[in-house]
């Protein structure tokens, strides 16, 4: 009796010399041609054909299929002829192993072929990935067993996830992951841990896609994952994070909505109050309080619009008298501020955005004065305006010691601060820049800095 484990190359030296040699040397075109030729001539090989078993045919089909893959994978170009060979012999391979005695076969080969089939789909027919991959996985599952098919698919999901160079890797990961879940569903608890891991992966993918509902969808995946694997600490933490983020978003949304009405109410109430107060002869102090409330509401509305990234609302204003003078009033007892010229200087700006920017710049100087313990009487800040028909330039200079050279190039970046990490949020100058840019202008450090201070320049166009 023939030994069960005698393989084709042992039975027939021709197979080794004609086919296997070129295959092991990665000469796949030769191994493909010769293996097909070998197969075709086998019926005439009276010397050997009686010894040929089912598992030898499996070997031949495997060799043809793997050779076809080798050619396509090496050249990276689609060849319909080779493609047809691959799937033709892949089918025959599957058909044969269905009935063959598995103990005489290499499971590794079956795994390899399924992996190859998925690989070819991804590289050459990605649009058919969902449909075809499902089909091949289920064929392999029927021909061998679900464990083999699912382990190949699982590995493929994570391989794709790691294929950082491929621009569509995330899309393929998602498709394969969905097939995995769909297929593994039928096998109960045995695959719960794997399914949970895949759901976690899908949750991450969905989350980082950043679409409108991606957080909600990510949360759904995590929740499903926790149903299957309730002890997954990673998933629990992730769930909490996403929920927190959603809560914050919802709170901001509600805040926006509710303050819309409140702010509207506040503004109209103030109008009523003004009308009544102006109708009576009120003292200067009452009027001053009223003005302060008015300014605060105005600024609150401006900050709110800025945070919402609202496009600027342009209006003609007298920059010096309507904006700068009232603004610096609140700083006067903490430094000496000089404005030049003090004449009327009308320009079309978003009043709140310019105010926000200037306020941040002055605040920046004030903090520098305080940090460096500069005496009140020695603190100077100059605001100089230059106006041409098309440009308005505002120069803001202080004598607060100047900028650290290392910070100069990053001064407008978020969270960069000379005040030390975490002490302040470091959004001030970034916001100042942002507000000016929203109006189509620019804000920069002056090319020539004073010896003992800092100069910023705002440029606005008409």
């Amino acid at each position: 009796m023939e030994k069960k484990n005698k393989v084709l190359s042992e039975k027939d030296p021709h197979w080794r010399s004609e086919v296997l040699d070129s295959f092991t040397k990665y000469d796949y075109q030769t191994s493909l041609d010769k293996a097909i030729d070998y197969l075709n001539k086998l019926p005439q090989r009276t010397d050997i054909n009686e010894a040929i078993t089912e598992s030898d045919y499996v070997t031949i089909y495997y060799t043809i299929t793997a050779s076809a893959y080798g050619i396509l994978n090496k050249s990276k170009t689609f060849d319909s002829h080779i493609w047809a060979h691959f799937f033709d012999y892949f089918d025959r391979y599957i058909e044969l192993i269905k009935t063959a005695n598995k103990t005489s076969l290499y499971p590794k080969n079956a795994e390899t072929l399924l992996d190859h089939a998925l690989d070819l789909l991804i590289n050459f027919q990605p649009e058919q990935l969902s449909e075809k991959a499902k089909e091949y996985v289920s064929q392999m599952l029927n021909a061998w067993n679900e464990q083999l098919a699912l382990s190949v698919l699982l590995k493929k999901v994570f391989d794709e996830r790691m294929d950082f160079k491929h621009p569509d890797a995330m899309i393929y990961t998602r498709k394969l992951a969905e097939i995995y879940l769909h297929t593994a569903q039928g096998y109960g608890e045995s695959y719960h841990a794997e399914c949970a891991a895949i759901m976690n992966l899908l949750s991450d993918l969905t989350y980082f896609e950043g679409t409108e509902n991606s957080e909600e969808e990510a949360l759904q995946w995590i929740e499903q994952s926790l149903v299957l694997n309730s002890k997954d600490e990673f998933a629990k933490r992730r769930k909490k994070n996403i929920q927190d983020s959603l809560t914050i978003k919802e709170q901001i949304r509600r805040f926006n909505h509710d303050t819309n009405n409140e702010l509207g109410g506040l503004q109209t109430n103030l109008q009523e109050l003004k009308k009544r107060i102006h109708a009576t002869k009120s003292d200067a102090q009452t009027l001053s309080f009223l003005q302060k409330i008015d300014n605060s509401i105005q600024r609150m509305a401006g900050i709110r619009r800025f945070v919402q990234k609202q496009a600027p609302e342009f209006q003609q204003i007298d920059i010096v008298n309507q904006l700068i003078i009232p603004l610096i009033a609140s700083y006067q007892n903490r430094m000496t501020i000089q404005v030049l010229p003090e004449t009327v200087c009308t320009w079309e700006v978003d009043r709140d955005y310019l105010l926000l920017s200037l306020d941040n710049l002055i605040k920046n100087s004030l903090e520098a004065f305080e940090r460096k313990n500069i005496e009140l009487t020695q603190r100077y800040l100059n605001i100089k305006l230059q106006i041409t028909p098309s440009h308005l330039t505002i120069k803001i200079s202080d004598n607060a010691g100047g900028l650290d050279e290392k910070l100069r190039d990053h001064i407008f970046e978020k969270y960069i601060s000379s005040k030390g990490i975490k002490k302040e949020t470091g959004l001030g100058l970034s916001n100042a820049l942002n507000a000016i840019e929203q109006m189509g202008g620019n804000l920069q450090l002056a090319p020539e800095q004073p010896k003992n201070g800092t100069t910023f320049i705002i440029n606005l166009t008409q």
């Binding site: 819309n260 509207g264 109008q271 990234k309």
Partner: protein, 335 residues
């Protein structure tokens, strides 16, 4: 002495400060203001009295008698009920879609409750809008003797221009010519708009600078002859410029952020041809009317008002139907 302007003011939060203040200040202006907080009382009021202006909020979703309603639907409904009444939306809750839909349903004005113009608050803006509505006459213009065949496209964006031209050509057909002009060239030397049947203006964003506002105002000044279609990005951050345009009464506004904006643009073009030189009148939405028809009598009774009999309601309904029939050429426009 002329009769005071009659206003129906509907808002479901009558105790809100802004609403209370608005009512007071409208009354101070000498307007004859009736306030309602439900849809059925609005219908009832409408049935009994003519209103020059109807003010309503977008956020009508929690009206007990009209679960499906929001301001835009209500707006369309009232435009269909009575074309002479000017509808002004006064809202704190509108979304991008609302702004575009409201313009396309021909609201006379849209004021956001937190909107301000310098020192002027939203109620001031509302009052200005009401005064403007009082002056405006509904002009249902007769068709010009010859059918228009010239369209004008105003844009600075080459890619938008290419896409728009392809829609203009395929929608308007060979009989129409289309001229393209940049916004700059337009404002330096605005062509006589009477030679055009349709003016389209496409730009991602319109600034709120005075010169841009003036341009837009001039472009829209003669609508509905020619019918003017404005397309821009529907973004939350552009609320002020979008509302500014909506308040200038374009024939249609198209949201360039919408994936199928070309289709909306084409629809707007064909609607503009059908409606050339005329005000668009919406046909009554029978489904909505029948819904109100069913809910109304109960509400009226529970509110302790006079009964509105079935026959009354039927005649009201027949009125709509005959109004619809009179306007056989009025196409049923969906948003």
């Amino acid at each position: 002495m002329s009769t005071p302007l009659s206003i129906l003011f509907m808002d479901d939060e009558p105790s809100n400060d802004i609403i209370a203040n608005a009512r007071e200040r409208l009354a101070e202006q000498g307007f004859d203001v009736d306030f309602v907080s439900t849809m059925s009382s609005a219908i009832e009021a409408y049935y009994e009295k003519f209103y020059d202006v109807f003010i309503l909020d977008i956020d009508m979703s929690h009206l007990p008698d009209d679960q499906e309603g929001d301001g835009v639907k209500v707006l369309k409904r009232f435009v269909s009920l009575h074309n002479q009444t000017k509808v002004i939306l006064f809202s704190g809750a509108g979304t991008v879609q609302h702004w575009f839909s409201a313009a396309n349903a021909h609201c006379f004005g849209y004021i956001a409750k937190d909107q301000q113009d310098g020192e002027l608050d939203s109620i001031h803006l509302l009052i200005e809008k009401i005064k403007q509505a009082a002056k405006s006459t509904t002009s249902v213009r007769a068709n010009t003797s010859t059918a228009p065949t010239h369209a004008l496209l105003i844009t600075d964006d080459k890619s938008l221009a290419t896409q728009a031209i392809s829609q203009i050509q395929s929608t308007l057909g060979e009989n129409w010519t289309n001229e393209i002009i940049s916004t700059d060239a337009w404002s330096k030397n605005p062509p006589d708009s009477s030679q055009y049947g349709i003016i389209t203006c496409l730009q991602a964003k319109f600034s709120t600078r005075a010169r841009v506002k003036q341009q837009l105002q001039a472009i829209l000044a003669n609508s509905p002859a020619p019918q003017t279609i404005i397309a821009c990005d529907g973004l939350d951050t552009e609320r002020n410029s979008i509302l500014y345009i909506a308040n200038q009464h374009p024939f249609r506004m198209v949201d360039l952020q919408h994936p199928q904006w070309q289709q909306s643009f084409a629809d707007a073009l064909s609607a503009a041809v059908n409606w050339y030189g005329k005000q668009e009148i919406f046909t009554a939405d029978a489904d909505t009317l029948s819904r109100i028809h069913i809910t109304l009598p109960e509400d009226v009774q529970s509110a302790g008002h006079d009964d509105l009999s079935e026959t009354d309601m039927e005649s009201l309904y027949t009125d709509y139907e005959s109004a619809v029939k009179e306007n056989q050429d009025n196409k049923d426009e969906s948003l």
